[in-house]
Amino acid sequence: MSDSNDYAVMLKGVSFKRGSRSIFNNVDIRIPRGKVTGIMGPSGCGKTTLLRLIAAQLKPESGEVWVNGHNLPHLSRSELFDVRKEMGVLFQSGALFTDLDVFENVAFPLRVHTKLPDEMIRDIVLMKLQAVGLRGAIDLMPDELSGGMKRRVALARAIALDPQILMYDEPFVGQDPIAMGVLVRLIRLLNDALGITSIVVSHDLAETASIADYLYVVGDGQVLGEGTPQDLMNSKNPRVTQFMKGLPDGPVPFHFPAPDYHNDLLGRR
């Protein structure tokens, strides 16, 4: 199918429930190959869930999740582990293995999936760490790194096997402006230099919009809007406008649903 050449990831009619709560309802998303695609939306709207659906860590209730021509919900457990080698995921916390040092963390995927000699693994690890600017931290343990450095080491680990798809889960949360700038630059740089497909899940509007070629805004279990950052800025959809412009009140109300304020103050419910 020609679609799978243009799009690295396709979600077709995906629905997902957590208990009785519906997180996604018949969602269609297509991630263009070789581009940086941002998936944005307010906190708690299921962005991370979406990422986990693409990484096949969760199974959708219904619908298809195509990644590089494989329909993930139909694969067996061992086939899934093979497909996952084509993907890298950068988790919010970095998720470095706390009992291994920086070198071993980055070398881990290489040791597990390849039979390369130690000298070659060392060279690859040095190259990956050089790309994220942390070659000097090679002997440190994860608890000796700052939050931003952890994420960069995790990024080096995620690109160790040269994946075709790289996913970032809230990469900018809790970062100081310098670390944020470094990450923004790295995501764009890695995407262009390695020719990979990047998916950035985030609610940090300015940073994501500055690097994304294409954006999806999700909320209420649906895709509220999609297009280039410029398209979405000019969107007529009030939900998209509220999110893109950061307005405190609008279709997403400022007040959590509550009984009448006047009656509540007078003790009448």
Binding site: Q57, R77, F81, R84, K85, M87, F91, S93, A95, R111
Partner: protein
């Protein structure tokens, strides 16, 4: 707070029963995937050795000290009762049978649940909450093989050995009290033990208990860690559950095994 109607209470009861059955099903599948899934990652022998060290070797101090004290107390209590019948030399038999048949595997199981089981749950729960398990999955490594399997096997291997060490130290402690302190004749102390302890009935049956408890305690511990809610409260609750469930399982299974092994004597 609104009062629940009778119907709601029945529904709630039903739901918790379903939850329990679901958890049991999940834990059985979990065990099946861990034991039977496709080959592990990296050098699994090294991983196993590291876990045997942290689960087994590091549990040695608590096992040795507890074994020593329990053996000493058994000898003291046994002596006080037996001396009034003039048969204090049978204290060797009493201590050996009590330790080999019951206290060795049971107390080791309880201590193992408290020391190693809780640590396993907390460690795996922490890996889950810091997304290390997810991270392994996305690297294409099955956490069941890489994280869970070595810990499970390390528990299976370590605990029966710890129970054996517990027995040996306990008997040694009892000899110290009975022979060296209370003056029981050394020859009859060991002879009564030698003549009454049967390899199959006592030693092997006790070892079977050790193996069963090892299996159950480690299974509960790793499953609770893997299945816990990935927050600090969730890890705390899971750790408590490990100790409670594992201790109850050890005591309950001990009764069943004892009934099967010694019930018809």
């Amino acid at each position: 707070m609104h009062r629940r109607s009778l119907l709601e209470q029945i529904a709630l009861l039903g739901r918790s029963a379903i939850d329990v059955v679901e958890a049991m099903g999940r834990s059985a599948l979990f065990l099946l995937h861990t034991m039977l899934g496709r080959g592990g990652a990296g050098s699994s022998f090294q991983l196993l050795m590291r876990q045997i060290h942290s689960i087994g070797v590091l549990s040695l101090p608590i096992i040795v000290v507890s074994g020593l004290f329990i053996g000493m107390v058994l000898a003291l209590q046994g002596y006080n009762i037996l001396v009034s019948y003039g048969s204090e030399q049978a204290v060797g038999q009493l201590v050996a049978l009590t330790l080999l048949r019951e206290l060795g595997p049971v107390v080791t199981g309880l201590l193992f649940a408290g020391r190693a089981g809780s640590a396993l749950t907390a460690e795996i729960g922490n890996m889950k909450s810091t997304e290390q398990l997810s991270s392994l999955e996305t690297i294409g490594v099955d956490p069941l093989k890489y994280i869970i399997a070595p810990r499970l096997w390390a528990g299976f291997i370590s605990m029966p050995l710890l129970a054996a060490i517990f027995n040996v130290v306990g008997i040694w402690g009892s000899a110290m009290v009975a022979v060296d302190w209370l003056g029981v004749y050394e020859g009859s102390f060991w002879a009564s033990m030698q003549s009454s302890v049967d390899l199959y009935d006592d030693v092997i049956n006790g070892a079977i208990k050790g193996v069963v408890f090892a299996f159950v305690v480690t299974w509960i511990a790793v499953f609770q860690g893997y299945d816990c809610e990935p927050t600090s409260e969730g890890i705390g609750r899971a750790t408590t559950r490990t100790v409670v469930y594992a201790s109850l399982a050890v005591l309950g299974l001990d009764f069943i095994l004892t009934a099967l092994m010694f019930g018809d004597n």
